[in-house]
């Protein structure tokens, strides 16, 4: 008679053991997932991003290196990534840049009221739309990934078409990765010259497609990357681009004023500027650019990591630059991470740059140099950036909507704020936010 009693005890014990075991598993799984985010391979991702940027300065190239650079830009961007299976993925991004620019409003600065109907109002604001699509395919062992991309962007004076190929090769232990990418951008520009030059027969003006001559630019880029895991807390990535551009490299509506002896005391009111010798910016039709970047990420301590970046750049315009940036992400808890950021950038001037009124003239009042610009983006400068960011990303998402056969998870909010202070007085601010969903 004792046997059934033992059996009964055993029967009672099993569920109890099971529930303790289940509880332990759940606790450990929760702890594990808090430390190590779980990635579900088949998730489709949608990111809604938005950026607001504003700047102000006093060296606009449209007015020859003097005058307002005030600009505001709003940029919504949507990125959709859809893996069809574990091997094939398509990613599409669609975006819009809407900007208002005080300096572009000065393309027709001194033109008559008759001609001001054309560009003045229209050029003070513009919208750029862009679309990019990438198809990637991994091999079965997932040691390589190859793909193709196409893109298009459109704004009033520029249409851009792009295409590219990429190939990534990973070691079996995924500690090393080699990436190769080739891209080509073909841009078609409407030649919009400063208003002073569009009065005669030499340059046209108007708002129709046929009112402008066109020119093109081909940008070919070859990119090689090498990433390497060094220790369980340290990894790096080296990136090198070789960029070759051929075609129009100047902005035709940028003015360059020459040293002709006329002094302009107040460029906003002094009409001596009308008489001052001016030409549209002129730059060579080819440019070779080589940047080399190194990113180093180090898990410094529990909850704290370091993201370091350095880039050296040189080109045949004689610009040399150094960029250094640091971010220190701190994991406040399982769902919130915050980071301060700092970036330092310095460059030498392009050999074709001179400030307003300093480019030389010959005795016959022609430009003494073949190429000339007063664009302060090509001047000797230091650009400092300060800011910070955050990422809210709970393990199970911020919110979940369930549908009949699927669910939509609001997974992440990311924000970033940055202030720019350029040594020539340009001040800028940028705010970015990303709402990430998976389904």
């Amino acid at each position: 008679m004792a046997k059934p009693a033992v059996d009964a005890d055993v029967i009672k014990m099993i569920p109890m053991k099971k529930s303790i075991l289940l509880l332990l598993l759940l606790v450990s799984a929760t702890a594990y997932s808090q430390d190590y985010p779980v990635k579900v391979l088949d998730e489709k991702e949608v990111d809604f991003l938005f950026n607001y940027y504003e700047q102000d300065g006093n060296h606009s190239p449209v007015t020859g290196g003097i005058g307002s650079e005030k600009l505001d830009c709003m940029t919504p961007l949507t990125i959709v990534t859809v893996p069809f299976d574990t091997l094939n993925t398509i990613s599409v991004s669609v975006g819009l840049d809407y900007y208002t620019s005080a300096s572009c409003d000065r393309i027709d600065r001194f033109i008559t009221s008759a001609s001001s109907q054309y560009l003045s109002a229209a050029s003070s604001r513009d919208t750029r739309t862009h679309f990019d699509a990438t198809y990637s395919r991994k091999n079965i062992e997932a040691t390589n990934d190859k793909g193709i991309m196409v893109g298009f962007s459109n704004e009033f004076d520029v249409n851009s078409f792009s295409t590219g190929l990429h190939y990534t090769l990973s070691s079996k232990d995924e500690n090393r990765q080699l990436g190769l990418k080739a891209t080509a951008f073909y841009d078609v520009w409407k030649l919009i010259y400063p208003g002073e030059f569009r009065n005669g027969d030499e340059y046209r003006y108007g708002n129709d497609e046929t009112d402008y001559d066109k020119d093109s630019r081909l940008t070919s880029t070859f990119t090689a990357t090498w990433s390497q895991v060094l220790t369980r807390n340290l990894q790096f990535l080296i990136t090198t681009d070789v960029v070759y551009q051929n075609g129009i490299l100047n902005s035709p509506f940028h003015r360059v004023y020459f040293n002709d002896g006329y002094t302009v005391l107040n460029p906003d009111t002094n009409w001596m500027l009308v008489a001052k010798t001016m030409r549209p910016e002129k730059l060579p039709r080819t440019r070779l650019k080589i940047p080399i970047g190194l990113r180093l990420n180090y898990y410094l301590a529990d909850r704290v990591s370091l993201r370091l970046y350095y880039r050296y750049y040189f080109d045949d315009f004689d610009i040399r630059s150094h960029t250094f940036s640091i971010e220190v992400p701190v994991k406040v808890n399982s769902w919130l991470s915050v980071y301060p950021l700092w970036r330092y950038y310095e460059q030498t001037a392009a050999k074709y740059f001179a400030p307003f009124g300093e480019h030389a003239l010959t005795t016959s009042w022609e430009p003494a140099e073949e190429f000339y610009t007063s664009d302060y983006d090509l001047s000797r400068l230091i650009n400092r950036k300060y800011g910070g960011g955050f990422r809210i990303s709970p393990v199970y998402g911020i919110h979940k909507w369930k549908f009949k056969n699927n669910s939509l998870v609001f997974k992440t909010i990311e924000g970033r704020y940055a202030i720019y202070r350029r040594s020539d007085g340009l001040r800028a601010e940028s705010v970015s936010i990303n709402f990430g969903f998976v389904f």
């Binding site: 430390d35 190590y36 985010p37 991003l49 940027y53 940029t75 961007l77 750029r128 862009h130 893109g151 962007s153 704004e155 851009s160 232990d173 500690n175 891209t183 951008f185 841009d187 940008t219 880029t221 990119t223 990357t225 990433s227 895991v229 060094l230 220790t231 369980r232 990535l237 080296i238 990136t239 090198t240 960029v243 551009q245 490299l249 650019k289 940047p291 080399i292 970047g293 190194l294 990420n297 898990y299 990591s305 993201r307 880039r311 050296y312 750049y313 630059s321 950038y345 460059q347 090509l378 400068l381 990422r391 990303s393 970033r416 940055a418 940028s430 970015s432 936010i433 990303n434 990430g436």
Partner: protein, 70 residues
């Protein structure tokens, strides 16, 4: 400067063969903040900097196309 960079790169590459990190040892490396790619919200900053500075590239982003790009 160039010499120092060269030595730094060689030192980094020589470190590469020192440690073999197993997949289960990559808990720290797999965290979102440790990823080597640029953050999605950083895309805009890269774009702004390519407009307002004479140099661009080696950021994993776009290297041409459209008005303002140099």
């Amino acid at each position: 400067m160039k010499k120092m960079m060269f030595i730094f790169f060689i030192a980094l590459l020589s470190l590469a063969s020192c440690v073999q990190v197993k997949p289960y040892q990559k808990a720290h490396l797999n965290q979102e903040d440790m990823k080597l790619s640029t953050r999605k919200v950083e895309t805009f900053d890269n774009s702004i900097e390519s407009y307002r500075e004479g140099s661009s590239g080696a950021t994993g982003g776009k290297t041409g196309g459209g008005c303002g790009c140099n």
